[in-house]
């Protein structure tokens, strides 16, 4: 290291002498790791300061003021936050968000794992199938949700054609007219969109498990369920945890599916933090309170992010 450094230092020094001039000195200064590092980080950092850090501070400030689209806002302390705690709509939203996230995650995890195990086998057109199942995750969610908007419609839905032969009655008000069914519907669409992400990530995880482990276990007499329990599950857990934490963050802060399907209705039964924040802050014009609704997500999101960070770093260091 020292030899190399001194060699390159001699080389640059020789060149500097050869060309002369102060520009060389500046050039060498800019080329130092301590300087160049910050220079290369500057564009990204500037962007994050202007459009993440500054809005964040602004958001905290606005959430403590009664600012509206027009007119002057004044400081009102934590009133927005305490008002929300007394608002039935907000309490409903908190409950909805956890129900939505909980159910969607469990289904995505279960179905995703099953899908990964199915896709991990050998069959004709394997690659084509593997890449096409990811489509729900690739295309714009707001657009694909439109198919479900029609599918859950009271009169035009195609579902009676499937439900009829199975003797399941199709709800007269459609799936989006009833509070419980509407929650089920938005969870279903989220599961439809998110399952392929779980499946493909877990499939990648499955493929990192060395095949000879299974062969050795089979020779030792372990049957398929035991091989799954004692080889697949423990070796897949790190991937599973990271994928799940990432998915919980995205699901908890979800907006598009609910906004397109129900806009929080019927009777606020499907409002999530993001849709309520949009309705309060943008459509209702109460910017301060809307910002407060969004920021109420922060404690839970913060915990998840810290968990994700801790887990990723722990895995990386092992």
């Amino acid at each position: 290291m020292t030899v190399r450094a001194s060699v390159s230092a001699t080389a640059t020094a020789a060149q500097a002498v050869e060309r002369g001039g102060g520009i060389q000195a500046v050039e060498r200064f800019l080329d130092r790791e301590g300087v160049l590092g910050y220079l290369l980080m500057t564009p990204a950092l500037l962007l994050l300061i202007i459009f993440i850090a500054y809005p964040f501070v602004l958001g905290v400030w606005y959430s403590m003021s009664d600012v509206q689209i027009f007119g002057l806002g004044k400081f009102i302390g934590l009133k927005n936050y305490t008002d929300l705690l007394n608002s039935p709509v907000f309490l409903q939203t908190v409950k909805n968000s956890f129900v939505y996230t909980g159910f969607a995650t469990v289904f995505k995890l279960g179905l995703g794992l099953a899908m990964a195990l199915v896709l991990n086998q050998h069959f004709p057109l394997k690659n084509l199938v593997r890449s096409s199942v990811l489509l729900p995750y690739i295309v714009p969610t707001a657009l694909s949700t439109l198919a479900f908007l029609l599918a859950f419609n009271p009169t035009l839905s195609p579902l009676p054609w499937i439900f009829g032969p199975l003797h399941i009655p199709y709800p007269a008000a459609g799936f989006l007219g009833d509070p419980l069914l509407a929650m089920g519907a938005v969870i279903f669409v989220n599961v439809w969109r998110g399952t392929p992400f779980f499946a493909i990530s877990l499939l990648a995880g499955l493929q990192t498990i060395p095949q000879d482990l299974y062969e050795a276990a089979a020779i030792d007499g372990a049957n398929a369920p035991n091989r799954f329990r004692h080889i697949t599950v423990p070796l897949l857990t790190p991937v599973l945890t990271i994928v799940m934490l990432f998915s919980i963050i995205q699901t908890f802060a979800d907006f598009q599916i609910v906004q397109v399907l129900t806009r929080g209705g019927p009777a606020d039964s499907t409002h999530l933090f993001a849709t309520l924040a949009y309705q309060t802050g943008m459509q209702g014009g109460r910017l301060g309170q809307g910002a407060a609704v969004s920021l109420y997500m922060l404690p839970f999101l913060g915990l998840l992010v810290i968990a994700q960070l801790w887990y990723t770093r722990r895995n990386a260091s092992r």
Binding site: G34, M41, L47, L48, V118, V139, P140, G205, D254, A316
Partner: protein
């Protein structure tokens, strides 16, 4: 290793093999394929159907177009602003992707290779901001966009382009032709513009400070309802992702390759642009596909920051402008939804492997 003895394979497999294959593979595979792809088939069918005779009549079998026609697609182009939205989305997605890739490449290289104070903290920051969902900050971000003056942003954009673009241009100038200037020449305009940008921004803050509470929604003095609002804010979630992905990728490239160039007298920037970046192209491609699809698909910022019909992006335009009142034109809606999904599907189909490796990079590498 001992050679494995050849396994005796009977010519005909037992019946139980085929049975278990159906139960463990074909049946679930078929179910999963129907589950994931049926909505797309349904959209296609609805978009091709005759609206009066078929879509609006629940008695007609819904999953097949009996009178296929392209009227809905023609309507979409002739009677709605869909072509305009497609153009907007293309411009916004392309520019924000380019900005994010260049910023992300520079930052990723710095984090992967250079030792400087706070590097690991900056790495954590980029990871954390990558996880911050857009829905957390859209309200205050909208205030930033509607209340900060345009010059500040424009200069920031110009600065970034110059500061990032000129070193890239150096790729095409042979080293012997720029003796004596080197990296300085490329950085100087950038640094100057950066200074101008920051001072103009500060000036804008103070000058506008008094009028901070009077939002000028119609005027052109701020970014509200311009494409710049999205081109500048999409990188807030794209740059952290690109940085984080490319840091990992750069780290996997052996140091020795650029160190020999450094010994030969190349500057860090030259070594990076000529040796490391070309080797990292697969990683950069993953980042590109990801950034492009994410910005093409983005919904909430586009919904909030762009307010006029003509300025919409495809997802917001189709959902919010084609659904008006009580009469739903389902065929046109589905045609728009499908056409809006096609570009990302095409990009994805060309680079499936790169997309998947970007998607799973975090989970699998850890």
């Amino acid at each position: 290793m001992v050679a494995v003895a050849p396994v005796f394979r009977p010519n005909r497999r037992p019946r139980s093999y085929y049975l278990s294959r159906i139960v463990s593979l074909w049946l679930p595979l078929a179910l999963f394929l129907v589950f994931t792809l049926a909505p797309f088939w349904y959209m296609l069918v609805i978009s091709l159907k005759n609206q009066q005779l078929e879509v609006n009549d629940p008695a007609v079998f819904p999953f097949w177009p009996f009178h296929p026609n392209f009227d809905q697609y023609i309507d979409l182009f002739a009677r709605t602003q869909f072509p305009r939205w497609a153009l907007n989305t293309t411009i916004i997605a392309s520019l924000s992707t380019i900005v994010s890739l260049t910023f992300g490449t520079l930052a990723g290289y710095a984090l992967a290779r250079l030792r400087f104070r706070g590097a690991s903290l900056l790495g954590i920051i980029s990871f954390v901001t990558y996880l911050v969902p857009q829905t957390l900050l859209f309200i205050p971000l909208n205030i930033v966009i509607t209340r900060l003056p345009v010059p500040f942003f424009l200069v920031t954009v110009v600065f970034s382009t110059v500061a990032v673009g000129l070193p890239l241009l150096m790729l095409f100038i042979p080293p012997e032709k720029r003796v004596g200037w080197g990296p300085l020449a490329s950085w100087l305009p950038g640094i100057l513009l950066f200074g101008i940008g920051v001072s103009l921004g500060l000036w804008g803050l103070t000058a506008k400070g008094a009028a901070l509470n009077e939002i000028d929604l119609g005027g052109a003095t701020n970014l509200s309802n311009t494409m710049w609002a999205l081109i500048l804010t999409y990188p807030t979630f794209l740059v952290p992702f690109c940085t984080w992905l490319l840091t990992g990728y750069f780290q996997s490239i052996p140091r020795e390759l650029e160190e020999s160039a450094l010994i030969d007298g190349a500057s860090r920037m030259q070594a990076m642009l000529r040796i490391v970046v070309p080797l990292a192209l697969p990683g950069i491609l993953s980042a590109f596909i990801f950034a492009f699809t994410l910005s093409w698909n983005e919904y909430i910022y586009a919904l909030v920051f762009l307010t006029s019909t003509a300025n919409r992006t495809i997802p917001v335009g189709v959902v919010n402008e084609l659904i008006r009142g009580d009469v739903y034109f389902w065929g046109t809606l589905m045609a728009g939804a499908l056409l809006g999904s096609v570009p990302v599907a095409i990009v994805y189909s060309f680079f499936v492997d790169h997309y998947v490796s970007g998607l799973t990079a975090g989970a699998v590498k850890g």
